[in-house]
């Protein structure tokens, strides 16, 4: 079995409404694609993502998601770049199908670990 990771740029996300982002994420997740967003979702968007996931759960085929937001702590240089260019560094969000991802978690020293499930044929 192959694993597909889709990176979605902050440029693409910047013009999207929260529900459009969530639809995009869930459509990919349901096709067994792991999604990496080049921005951190807001707490409100995360809440909407969990709620939308619960609505999409299908007992036999779709059991949910694993996700993790990695915050970007802005340095002086980032703040200066934001002031000059208007482009804000806001972290990353990783979202994967629960049937493929056991957990995504923060380890000591800032390492984010994604633990995949053992799947037949992998």
């Amino acid at each position: 079995m192959k694993i597909q990771l889709d990176f979605i740029s902050s440029e693409r996300l910047s013009g999207m409404k929260p529900m459009e982002k969530i639809d995009l994420i869930l459509n990919k997740i349901k096709k067994d694609i792991i999604v990496v967003l080049e921005e951190g979702l807001t707490p409100e968007e995360e809440k909407e993502l969990i709620e939308a996931t619960m609505r999409e759960i299908d007992i036999e085929n779709f059991h949910g998601i694993e996700f993790y937001r990695i915050d970007h702590k802005a340095s002086f240089r980032d703040k200066l770049a934001f002031y000059l260019t208007g482009k804000k560094q806001t972290g990353l969000t990783i979202v994967g199908p629960a049937k493929m991802i056991e957990a995504i978690k923060r380890e000591p020293e800032g390492v984010i670990t994604m633990i995949a499930k053992l799947m037949p044929g992998l």
Binding site: K47, I50, E51, M54, R55, I57, I59, G64, K105
Partner: protein, 206 residues
């Protein structure tokens, strides 16, 4: 006569409405055990059933007019025990606890609705106890999402580092993970440190 009527009206006007205190947290953190402990201590009755099978609480359970009294005064509350927040619900996991396939599927369906209901209530609670299992890693997205939403709405909260009766409990991990919030280590099961929690509720959730 007029004076007593005036005093009565003033009393009614000054009476604060009951605080809607929500119990939020991941599945199996001990939210219902804690709600039962508080309800038993102050009302003499329990709020809901507890089980080791995940998603035992699949509907919101409410108990009204709980009055907590501490040295700093009294606080009137409605306790609202929420279903645990999860991002995944797989009925096969319930079968590992001995449920039949049919029971497990029914529980899974009810659990998804319970999570939605709990999320909806985030906009209606006045204060929250965020209950975490102190034997588990607190850096989970569910914890981060709950706390992030409460912070965004400026809802007062106390984090309860539950299950300190277990030998592997490490409440300091929770304190280190969320240093900006008040964390109270307790055992909802044995009642250890529960007085400290009542003081924290009185001090930080009013």
């Amino acid at each position: 006569m007029i004076l007593s009527l005036y005093k009565k009206i003033l009393q009614i006007l000054r009476r604060k409405k009951n605080i809607q205190l929500g119990f939020y947290g991941p599945v199996n953190a001990g939210k219902t055990t804690l709600a039962n402990r508080i309800s038993l201590d102050w009302l003499g009755k329990e709020i809901g059933k507890v089980s080791e099978i995940p998603h035992e609480t699949r509907h919101i359970q409410k108990i009204e007019n709980v009055v907590i009294k501490t040295n700093n005064g009294e606080l009137r509350m409605n306790l609202i025990d929420m279903p645990g927040i999860a991002t995944e619900i797989d009925y096969k996991k319930f079968q590992a606890y001995g449920l039949s396939e049919e029971e497990a599927k029914r529980r899974a369906k009810e659990a998804t609705k319970g999570v939605i209901e709990a999320i909806k209530w985030l906009d209606s609670v006045d204060a929250v106890l965020v209950v975490m299992d102190s034997t588990q890693d607190p850096f989970t997205q569910v914890n981060i999402t709950i706390i992030g939403n409460l912070e965004a709405r400026k809802v007062p909260m106390v984090i309860v580092a539950n299950k300190i009766d277990l030998p592997e409990a490490n409440p300091s991990r929770i304190e280190n993970a969320f240093p900006q919030h008040v964390v109270v280590p307790v055992s909802a099961l044995t009642g250890e440190n529960i007085e400290k929690l009542y003081e924290a509720i009185q001090k930080h959730l009013t």
